[in-house]
Symmetry: C2
Subunit: 134 residues, 2 copies
DNA sequence: GTATCTGCAAAACATTTGCAATTCT
DNA sequence: AGAATTGCAAATGTTTTGCAGATAC
């Protein structure tokens, strides 16, 4: 995604596209890894020397409020963030630690909840070994 | 579950059934809520005045190593613990906060992972409103 | 009496908050 | 100038670790 498109997307969502916000948004979009706050900070810090973790937190919380990003609780210790908010499964490799998107067509979930349970959202996390490690 | 049965179960799993361990195990077994460390500590503390959170953590980590308990990452801030390690779904009510077990027969998951992905375990978390709150 | 277990205090992290300085318009 | 944004430092909350004292066999 080019900078121009990102700027106008953020503006359309009511987010002022400051430089740190723009770079964090582009980072999520380009890597499509499922980064922790620390990964984003560590990767962008060399290129944006004044960047602070607080701004990374602020930006992610803002993107979440706007529904642009979702938080994953696939790790026990830290949150991960995903710019893909469509319905899909996450696979965490217990060997290399990598989190991979599994497209919706690989998983079919039939939810027939007992009466009165109204689902709004769901997350399927699968833990195991990825192709590179098996 | 009676104390006797719990004692012999723990011994069979190679866990010395000390008083705190026994009480924590019985707590998980009787309530079948999906408690945080703090919930266990707060609930048992009045009856076991010398109990410490460290011991709650130690005991839960021990039970997890032995495969008797599983950690749930359904909450963003804290781990929850479940003594039911069978395949089932967890429903978190966003209104009252309660986490409910949804038995396996209410959910059918067909996992057809891309080649090379070897699943070991999976967790399905559903977020919404429970019968009492809807 | 030796191993293990417990629990306090401190440390290690992740995340949030208060606030002053900076930036943008 | 005025409003929003950034980033430092401190606070908060969860979990782990080190270690001394207590407990169990």
């Amino acid at each position: 995604m080019e900078t121009e498109a990102a700027v106008s997307f953020l503006e359309k969502q009511g987010i002022k596209p400051s430089y740190p916000r723009l770079r964090i948004y582009l980072y999520l979009h380009e890597r499509k890894n499922h980064p922790s706050v620390d990964m984003i900070f560590t990767d962008l810090s060399p290129e944006i020397p004044t960047l602070s973790k607080t701004t990374v937190y602020n930006t992610l919380n803002l993107l979440m409020e706007k529904g642009i990003v979702q938080a994953l609780t696939i790790e026990e210790k830290e949150n991960r963030y995903d710019i893909d908010t469509s319905v899909h499964t996450h696979f965490k490799c217990e060997s290399c630690g990598e989190i991979t998107d599994i497209p919706g067509e690989y998983t079919n979930i039939e939810l027939n909840l007992p009466a009165g349970f109204l689902p709004r959202e769901r997350q399927l996390y699968v833990y195991g070994t990825c192709p590179g490690c098996s």
